[in-house]
Amino acid sequence: MNARNQQLQLTVEYRQVKDAILCLFHNSLLHRTVGKSKYSAESSYTLGSIGIEEVDCSNIDLTYVRVNSPELVIDIDDKTRSFVDAIQTIANYKSGSFSGSSSPSSPGRNMRFYGIDQWEPITTAQIKLEFYQKRKRQWPMPEDQVPWEIWELNLEIVRTLRGEDFQRMREFVGEKLADKVLYMCSIINKPQYLPKMPTRTELPYVFEDKFSDCQPYLYRISSDCGQRQSDINSSFMKKFFKDTLSFTA
């Protein structure tokens, strides 16, 4: 089965990277999280309730909604911290060496509409959130992790040159992010494949059971930011062999 792959493109200022990622990933997780399940029998269960929490972005004029689970919030923060730190490092490196190594460029027509004439491109990066299922394989093969939904966030990261441009970026990115959120909502509610609710034994193969107050589908966050090209190539070959073996198993 092929995973659903949704790609989201966004241009953000380097200080807005964290807010943008958390907004979109928490939006996705909110829809892919259910209440804690309690099984009275192997196949009979009850579900707890999900509470939501409004969060104001720090550097974007937008408020988003996430699952009010401190454990989940901490887990997402941990998994995205390395990516955000890598972007910050690149931005600082380029800022220190900015004396012509990368010249400012003109943003697109939309940004000039917002009054921003120039910005400095920093880098492009991709981070993705995958929802997957575990699948048992014959001994001694380890369990397979089969993704069924992938949200890829492709970021074009820039630096504004003036303070007032950053204020305009706050509004611009807020509007674009709002469009992305609405797009995600419309996609998520279409009739599509979702893993079947598991029995008690199969629960860890479908849901992340480590949180005490909520139960998201199994997920992982990965990115290519900061990886060397050789590492990217080797991980690709590993994935290729893995998929081939899983197909033949």
Partner: protein, 474 residues
Amino acid sequence: MGDLVKYECSPEPESSDWFNVRIDEIGEIAAYLKSGIKRFPPYASGLNLDFLLHTADGDSLPLETWVVRIDPTNTDENVNVHTHLYHQMSTLLKSIQTAARVTPTYRYYARKQSPETFVIFYRVFEGEPDLFLLGDDQRYVRLGSLPSPFGSLCVDLYYRTRMEIVPNANVSPIIEAKENVQSQNENVVFRLGSIPFGSAVPAKGSEIVAASPVSEEINTFSTSPLSQDLPFGNQSEQEAHFKLGRSVSSSDDSANPRLAQDNKSDDPTFAMDMSNSPKGSSSFPQRSSSYRQIRVRNNSFPFASLLLESQTAESTRSQVLPRVVEDTGNGASLLPSNKSDSALNRSSNKSLHVTSSSPLELFAQMSIKEEDEEKQTLADESEKTEVDLNDNIEGEDGMESSDDSYVKVFAFASTDDLGNDLGEFVKEVRQAPQNLPSFSQDNANLLADQLSCFKEKVGAFDSFVAGLKEKEDE
């Protein structure tokens, strides 16, 4: 208002949380909906929620419209409404919560309201929306379209992108006179034609109550494909049900699509036993009836639900919206409902006056006393039912006591022994509103006054009768 919303997750199943999402109802909004909305989709073409901005200068700007529809042409009989559709609706509800925070209305206006600048009103109405009011460059998002055996449940969002107040004859002023502007701390309701507006900023101090529960079994699911169409757990007692937002206080036929198909008109259908009962209505529950009764709320005569013919429809449990108590100090507020179906009122004495329309002028008064503890089934509670009748009642079941004024019937400790009819009757009585506008609550006082008046004039009546006797003898 202006505070960030925050609801706690609950690992334990909460029967008050529909769709496994924690949302607290705001009493004013629930009361507004209950008073204004009589029909829901699919019996209305759509249910619309408009948000409008109203400035201190008196200008109005429609901002966004949410539309809930059911498309009856797009049905899918294979969808399991108890599990699959229920989970999908939970996801859709989360989408609505998310989308509501990213529209221009919320981003630019909702949290910046004040009486000095602008406030946001909302209105809910049936029918088709007027999208022309949202101006050019409006945007449209279909948040979800969920197929079901009843039709596709669709939620659409239309919102304005160009925030320019243009004098437009189609948008009538919300407030006709400036002196009608009220402070933020008061409930604000204005009228535009026949559609009342509500302020989107509930007054501080508004009571926030949990949404009405149905039963704890609403959160019980089963993963086995064999049980997809079966009740969960114990089949005889528990069954998760799914309702499209109808309240039992309105017509019950719409809650059950099968029943809705059978009932072609809005008139309640029932069968009457004309053999022994007095004309009009009978105050005696038919204990010997062996068929299940479908609850129908109607004002024709009491205990009509006990006379319904059996239907093949499965029993339905309806979500009971909290009753609006109109005599509280804070205005409309809601009484929280108990978790179990059987105990809808906590430790409160209710009295219900039921007046028959029979020409025999039957008069019954019932009072039900309940215990303080919450019970999961009717069998765990002890009830006492008192039925007061006048002397004109012919006791079908021989329920006359030696007291000429009152007949007291003590119900059995276990309502299971009462049979389905009386059990349904008890449920009906419990769910009846406390104040029935059709009936005057002064009858008891009037009756006492009348009795005392008659007592005072006993001598006059005796002399009158004696006079008639003398004339007859003559």
